[in-house]
Every structure is written in structure tokens, then in C-alpha cells.
């Protein structure tokens, strides 16, 4: 019998209102944080306080209220940038990670790629770091290529080197932590090899920033994208950290209000960074909410959060195989993975697993997780997936295992 790991984190469940709910008399076990995380009181309070007491448009108001709103918004940007070792000037608010990657696809790639060029991505990317490059390649005549993975879900660096060897790769896209395999990719190494081959690198940090210390200056990617709602913040706010020189020379992505310096009849000039890439009124309350979320994570300590995730993942990797006929995907070594565990069960489809889990108030994800090329590589149509955050505890893993055992009973296996 596996023993539950110790954790360095306090029990914070009571600070997350959704987690106090019950279904069929059972307290909810929420293990779908890779889809979206729950939000602590502190985030809700910060947004509520802004909307009730300090709501005004930012960067415009010539009155105290407007100045306070601007200070809250830009203060959030500064703390968010510092949280991941970036500068506020090169930290652009988008609406989500998908939009952040699309910003690179539209404002950099379409002006810099052409026939004969190659975009190189990995087999474990989320659709948000695949489909934008498919469209870029269709529009520019560049070619999209994939770096393969090993059977236990590790990126094949030899395959990366071989692909970079063509000398035609202009952009490398890589996910920091896979939302299916949990694989923690050596992104600094991938970026360094991309640069050595004369390519830029864009990293999808969506699953990494919420659960481990991330220093984007150390990774040195040209673009690093992530989203707020998986990091205990609200939906509607994402982040793109970009290299200053590139952001300066790029054309705008979305255009209109706020992003201009001067608008003449025929043409315009652009605002300073990062405002050049923030057309229209921003998601102000959401950015402030994300600021509160990273304050919350900072108080817990990202080293502690990472240790907590590793402990839970190790415990899940130990307990899940107790269920007969269960296959776990991804690296067996927890030091090479984040808090995401995908699995399949012989004789039960993932949707049916999720349906039975739901009866136990255990929320898991079932499906292709927006990674259809990866599903084909794994030889499955879909998987079940449990993913953890700061509010999960070993008893959540126990309840998941219980629910999976019950699924076998329901299916008479």
C-alpha cells in the first residue's frame, strides 16, 4: 500500500469556495486544474474590490479614480512580470495563451517566414501551439515539421538536432509542461539549440507557470506564453513575454484604440511597449485578479508548490496502477513531469470513466485534451486525465482510485 506524501503546504481548501460544494452528499474532488484552476477568496476579493470601489478605464482618467485603476492594473503587470523573471515593458496582456501565441503567429511569423522556411514544433503540443503554425505555413509557404517523442513521453533531443540540421528552421515551438503527458521539457536547452541553429523559439508555459518556479530570462525564449485561469486567476487574461527588440520591430497584432501614438488620416504610429500590443480596453479586473493570484502563489512559495505537486504526482503514479488494466502515460520519473497524470483503462472508454467518477463527485477530464497529433502518437483516441493544484491532497488521489475501481465494477470487469 502506498503511503501518502507529506506536504510543505498548509491545507488551503477552505480558501477555495468551489471546493466546499457537495454533490450527492459528497465533497467535490476537483482534479481538473490543467483545464482550469479554482480561484481563492483573495482573487475574488481583489476583483470584487476593484469593480465596486476603483472601477475606471486605465491610462485615460484625469481624475483620482482613473489613476487608482491604472496603478492597480500596472501594479499587477509589474508583479506578474517579476513573478516569472520578466520586465513589465515586455509583458503583454492578452486574453489567453492561445491569443498570445496567435500574436506571435500574426505579428512576427507572417512577416518573417516564406517558402523554404520551416516551423518546428513537438509532437506533444496543445492545439494552441499547432493550429496557428498550420495557418502561418499555409499563408507563407513555410513547412511545418514535428519533433517526435519517446514511448514514455520524453522529447527526443536527437530528433530536434536532426530537424534543426536542415538549416531552414526559423521558429521552434515547444510546450514547457505537457498538458497530457505531464512531461517537463528542458526548454532552456531547446531554446539554446534553436538559437544556435538561427531560429527563434516560442514556449507555451501554460501548464508550467501555475505549478513551478519559472524564470523566463533564464529560459531565454524569444516568446513565452501562459494564461491566468490555470494559475488560480480568472479567465480572460493571458500573458506574452517577448524579446524587446522583436516586440519593437514587429507590426501590431490587433489594432485600434490605446495602441497608437498618433493617428493620421492614412497611417498611424504606435504606442510604447507593451501597449502597442494591447488594443482596446484591457481585461482590467481580470489582470488585477491575476495579480492577486500570483501574490497568493508567491506567499505559498513556488518551490513549495512544486514539491507539493511532485509529491501528489508520485503518489498518483504509485496508486493508479493498483487498478487492474490501467495504463499511465508519460515519464515514470516525477522529476521529469508536472502534476498531470493521463491514463486509460482496458475495457472502459475514458468518457465512461469520467461519467462514473462524476457519480463520486470526482472531476476528471476525458477526451483528446486538444492534442490530437499526440493522441495518434500514443495510439489512442482519448485518455482520462487527473491534474493537481495547491488545494489537492492525497485523499483526492484515494477518492480517484476508489472511483476507478467502481468503474470496473459498473462495467463488470
Amino acid at each position: 500500500m502506498a503511503t501518502a506524501p507529506d506536504t510543505t503546504l498548509p491545507d488551503v481548501r477552505s480558501e477555495f469556495p468551489v471546493l466546499t460544494r457537495e454533490w450527492n452528499g459528497k465533497r467535490v474532488t476537483y482534479v481538473d486544474s490543467a483545464a482550469t484552476s479554482q480561484k481563492p477568496e483573495q482573487v475574488l476579493a481583489a476583483m470584487d474590490r476593484f469593480l465596486r470601489e476603483a472601477n475606471a478605464s486605465v491610462h485615460r482618467g484625469l481624475y483620482d479614480l482613473g489613476r487608482e485603476a491604472t496603478d492597480l492594473f500596472e501594479g499587477a503587470r509589474e508583479r506578474i512580470a517579476r513573478f516569472v523573471g520578466a520586465d513589465a515593458e515586455t509583458t503583454v496582456f492578452t486574453h489567453n495563451a492561445t491569443e498570445a501565441i496567435n500574436l506571435v503567429a500574426y505579428a512576427w511569423a507572417r512577416d518573417n517566414l516564406g517558402p523554404g522556411d520551416e516551423v518546428l514544433i513537438t509532437r506533444m503540443e496543445h492545439h494552441s501551439n499547432i493550429v496557428p503554425w498550420q495557418l502561418v505555413c499555409q499563408d507563407t509557404g513555410a513547412k511545418l515539421r514535428y519533433v517526435d517523442i519517446s514511448d514514455d513521453g520524453l522529447l527526443l533531443l536527437d530528433d530536434l538536432d536532426a530537424a534543426l540540421g536542415s538549416g531552414r528552421v526559423k521558429l521552434v515551438g515547444v510546450v514547457h509542461v505537457s498538458n497530457v503527458l505531464g512531461t517537463l521539457n528542458p526548454v532552456a536547452e531547446v531554446v539554446s539549440r534553436a538559437h544556435a541553429a538561427g531560429a527563434l523559439a516560442v514556449v507555451d508555459g501554460t501548464q508550467a507557470v501555475p505549478q513551478m518556479p519559472v524564470d523566463v530570462s533564464e529560459i531565454d525564449a524569444d516568446f513565452y506564453a501562459w494564461t491566468g485561469h490555470k494559475a488560480l486567476g480568472p479567465t480572460g487574461v493571458g500573458v506574452l513575454h517577448g524579446r524587446r527588440e522583436l516586440l519593437l520591430e514587429m507590426r501590431p497584432f490587433i489594432s485600434g484604440g490605446h495602441m497608437i501614438n498618433r493617428v493620421d488620416d492614412e497611417a498611424s504610429t504606435w504606442s510604447e511597449l507593451p501597449h502597442k500590443f494591447e488594443a482596446g480596453t484591457s481585461a482590467i479586473a481580470e489582470a488585477i485578479g491575476l495579480g492577486a493570484a500570483i501574490d497568493y502563489l508567491t506567499t505559498l512559495g513556488m518551490e513549495n508548490v512544486r514539491a507539493h505537486e511532485e509529491g501528489l504526482t508520485a503518489y498518483a503514479l504509485e496508486r493508479l496502477p493498483e487498478v487492474p488494466g490501467l495504463t499511465v502515460y508519460g515519464p515514470p520519473d516525477v522529476s521529469q513531469r508536472g502534476g498531470v497524470v493521463s491514463f486509460s483503462m482496458e475495457g472502459i472508454h475514458p468518457h465512461d470513466i469520467a461519467e462514473v467518477c462524476d457519480r463520486h463527485a470526482v472531476c476528471i477530464r476525458a477526451g483528446h485534451h486538444c492534442t490530437q497529433p499526440l493522441m495518434r502518437r500514443l495510439g489512442v483516441g482519448s485518455t482520462g486525465r487527473a491534474s493537481f493544484h495547491v488545494y489537492n491532497h492525497p485523499d483526492d488521489v484515494d477518492r480517484l482510485v476508489e472511483a476507478l475501481q467502481d468503474a470496473r465494477r459498473v462495467f463488470e470487469l
Binding site: G347, I348, H349, P350, H351, D352, E355, A366, G367, H368, Q372, M375, G381, S382, V410, F411, E412
Partner: protein, 127 residues
């Protein structure tokens, strides 16, 4: 007994009827559910305007597989032109269980490919 995963549903899921491929067939169609990635195809042999034989193939959950298996037994012998008149309720009645909104697409996938094969209309159901 389980309300959803009844004996009959599990039996058809574990031992699906009329599954596989037909080497020679007159009609065929293939579709998938973009939400979950499940895929289902059908091969149909037509004689005298009727479905003489059919085979489903693909992968999916207990509900989608059982719906295909159970309805396949009703579909064989049916005039091809009547398939386009079959409704969502027809499939759900065949299954004999309550289907939640989230599982409706699972239940309807087999009729969707049948209609695609016989009428060429891939857009059903509209809701």
C-alpha cells in the same frame, strides 16, 4: 442495476453486433465527434433499395458503441430512403436509457454516419 450502464448496453458495448468492414459496399461514411475524438465509420450494402448488410467501425464510449450496435439490427432490411427520416428520439428509444445533454452526441453518432452515408447530409443533427 445501473441506470445508465444497463446489462443490455454493456452487452452491446462489449460484443458489438455488425462491427467491422465490408469488402464490397455501395455506401460508406465516416465521421467523428470533435469534442472527444471518437470516430465511427459505416459500410452499407444495398439490394433492391434496402440495406442488405452493414458494418460499423471505429472507437467510442459505451453509449456511442451500444447505440451503433443496437440500431444496426433494426437498420438491416430497412429501405435506404427511410434512414433520412429517423430521428434522434428513435436512437434514444433503441438505447432504452435516459441520455443527458452531455452524452447526446455520443448516442447520435451512429445515426449521424448512417444519414451521411444514405443522404449525403453531414450536418445532422442541427442542435
Amino acid at each position: 442495476m445501473d441506470d445508465l450502464y444497463r446489462e443490455n448496453i454493456l452487452d452491446h458495448y462489449k460484443n458489438p453486433r455488425n462491427f467491422g468492414e465490408l469488402d464490397s459496399h455501395d455506401l460508406q461514411f465516416h465521421d467523428h465527434n470533435p469534442l472527444c475524438g471518437d470516430e465511427l465509420g459505416v459500410h452499407i450494402k444495398v439490394e433492391d433499395g434496402k440495406i442488405a448488410d452493414l458494418r460499423f467501425h471505429g472507437h467510442g464510449c459505451a453509449i456511442s458503441q451500444a447505440a451503433a450496435s443496437i440500431s444496426s439490427e433494426e437498420l438491416i432490411g430497412m429501405p435506404v430512403e427511410e434512414v433520412g427520416d429517423l430521428s434522434a428520439e428513435w436512437v434514444i428509444e433503441q438505447l432504452g436509457i435516459d441520455i443527458s445533454a452531455t452524452r447526446r452526441k455520443c448516442a447520435l453518432l451512429s445515426l449521424k454516419v448512417m444519414r451521411g452515408a444514405t443522404t449525403g447530409d453531414a450536418s445532422w443533427p442541427k442542435d
